[in-house]
């Protein structure tokens, strides 16, 4: 039982961080970013290169990843999303653009980093073992703590800085924010860069545990979508809640339903659909996203 709770917490902290970036971009620009998972993968590969290949300290690698992904995100927003959003009749059209970017990142990652699964040496050795009731390797504890710290840092940034306030105002009501003098273009770019950075950071953190490979992008995006839906699209607290709930669902589901094997995930997905039919806006979302 204790193990299940710890598993849920660990998974939840990763998931919440992935979902945060996605929901931020959605809240600001109404873009469902299909390339989110690819940014996660890119982050993993950048960390792998800086830490695993070039031998810099892990923390430097994480910072490098954050900066790289922020730049990538900003460029994508500036050169691709901005012109398309400005000119398209229906804003869903950006989904095609996002999917195109996802394909492009897939192709670039394949050409630059290759097709193999990549991993880095463990950052911490040893396993925390409490009487076989809780078994958790130290590196997982560290990654979990780092993830929670990043989430806390992100929330503090959104709450207490001028940029954060502007972003929140922008997310709440685009027109009103614009009228109050918020520079929409600038903050779209900052928001997109932040979202990409968060995705990259999780990728960088997790490369120490699960490694990274080209194929993780699409599935990660879809998982992130699900978390965002559970919590409510475009709501920061919702994304965090969604991440932890999906983490808990998986941990509990796998523990309780393991003897039924194949249908564990079927039940998780089906219950998600049932939940959404009763609560169409997720836990905390605005109705009709």
């Amino acid at each position: 039982m204790e193990q299940v709770i710890v598993n849920a917490l660990y998974l939840g902290s990763q998931y919440a961080m992935i979902a945060l970036g996605l929901t931020l971009i959605f809240a600001l620009m109404n873009v469902l970013n299909f390339a989110h998972g690819q940014m996660y993968v890119l982050g993993g590969f950048v960390t792998y290169t800086i830490y695993g290949r070039l031998g810099f300290p892990f923390i430097v690698a994480l910072l490098g990843t954050a900066v790289t992904l922020a730049i990538v995100g900003a460029l994508i927003e500036y050169f691709l999303f901005r012109p398309v959003i400005r000119r398209s009749v229906r804003e869903e059209s950006t989904m095609l653009l996002a999917a195109g970017i996802a394909f492009l990142l897939d192709a670039v990652i394949l050409l630059v980093f290759g097709e193999k699964q990549r991993g880095v040496p463990k950052i911490l050795d040893g396993v925390f073992n409490w009487d076989f009731r809780i078994i958790l390797p130290y590196d997982r504890i560290l990654v979990c703590v780092l993830a929670i710290m990043s989430i806390a840092g992100f929330i503090a940034f959104m709450q207490f800085t001028k940029t954060g306030r502007a972003l929140r105002a922008f997310a709440q009501d685009r027109v009103a924010a614009e009228l109050m003098g918020v520079n929409v273009d600038r903050y779209s770019m900052i928001g997109f860069a932040l979202g990409a950075m968060l995705a990259g950071l999780v990728g960088g953190l997790l490369v120490t545990i699960t490694g990274v490979n080209l194929g993780m992008g699409g599935p990660v995006s879809i998982k992130a979508f699900m978390m965002v839906m559970i919590g409510g699209a475009g709501v920061i607290s919702g994304a965090i809640a969604g991440g932890f709930i999906l983490g808990a669902l998986e941990a509990v589901g796998l523990a309780v339903l393991s003897q039924y094997g194949d249908i564990t995930y079927l039940l998780i997905f089906a219950s998600l659909m049932v939940f959404l039919s009763f609560r169409p806006q997720g836990l905390m979302g605005k109705p009709w996203g």
Partner: protein, 397 residues
Amino acid sequence: MHRKALLKAVSIVAILACSALISSTGFAANKVLKIGFVGVTSGPAAAWGISNVRSMQTRAKWINETGGVKIGDTTYDVEIVTFDDQKDPKRAIAGMEKMAQEGIHYVVGPNVDDGAAAVRPVAERNGIIYFPYAFPKELYTKPASNAVLGMVASYQSGPAIYKYLKETKGVKSIAFVSANESDPLSQREGGIAAAKALGLDVVSSNVTFQVDTIDFTPVLTPVMRTKPDLLVLSGVSPANAPQLIRSARELGFQGLISTETAQDATVLKEGAGDLANGFISVGGASTPEISSDMMAEFVDRYTKMFGEYNDESNTKVYALEYILETLKVNPAAITDVEEFKKTMDTFEVANPYMKGDAKLKYVGTTSFGQKRQLMVPLVVNVYKDGKFETLFVAEVD
């Protein structure tokens, strides 16, 4: 600004397209023999096809540099025509049609069950012999006759491994874990049947995971409670293997771990480090104990050409070799696959990749009732400190 950006994008694309075209056109003094490849070389499952296609390209380039291959009275340069099916059976059909269009009669791939089943009608109608890396028996038993299994099937290697471990390591109980996808699940079924036939106690057999799992601890926790002597990772992809091994060991698992798929030593080293020591997998003939000088040169050329070797390619050097050697024996088969099928029954030459007197021949009579499988040596490897060591070598009949 906007237009400038577009212009830039267009010019980049154009440059890339040109460079791609230039690199694909070589010099051709000899006649060209085209061999096809239909499989996945982009997207999530890219690793499977890429190690495959690269080993073919390496071998083809090597042959061409040394003057080509002499079949009958003509010397040919080998050209590999690749089609990326993105692991989609619908595209795999299109790929096979493309091969037929190019006049190709010998195609390596597809890499997965659904693709291999989907291309069957096209291959049979157009007289194409194809070499899938997929295990469904329907593909190789009559009335099907155009598919030749390119590797050792899990239902062949599994029993051999379990038997060996039962006899030498005293394994009594066994547990299976697999991804909830078609190929791994089918391989798990085969594994369970084999284990039961050997009288092993199957303590856990229905735990599955999604391929996108990022933490395997919750997946493996219930399996570990059953305390098996041997944990089998059925049909595990090289990407998931190190994570599963790491989670199992970190949960305190002391028993053996094995799989029936080919793995890559570097991936295991990076992903699981010392925890992967003792991990048993199936490989080709690349361990120093058994590999010939030719295999060493192949690895060397592969590494030069693509920067890094992939151990999965060990099992995948064979298909092209088999095609060419069989054509050498019967040149009429270049355009007529019926001739090829006739030759398959009697074909036997020395295996250039292995030391000793190993042979290349077609097998599969026991499993499929006809010779529709390449005799690839069943080399069972164990991982140790970043390298594979050969545990034992067996043959399939």
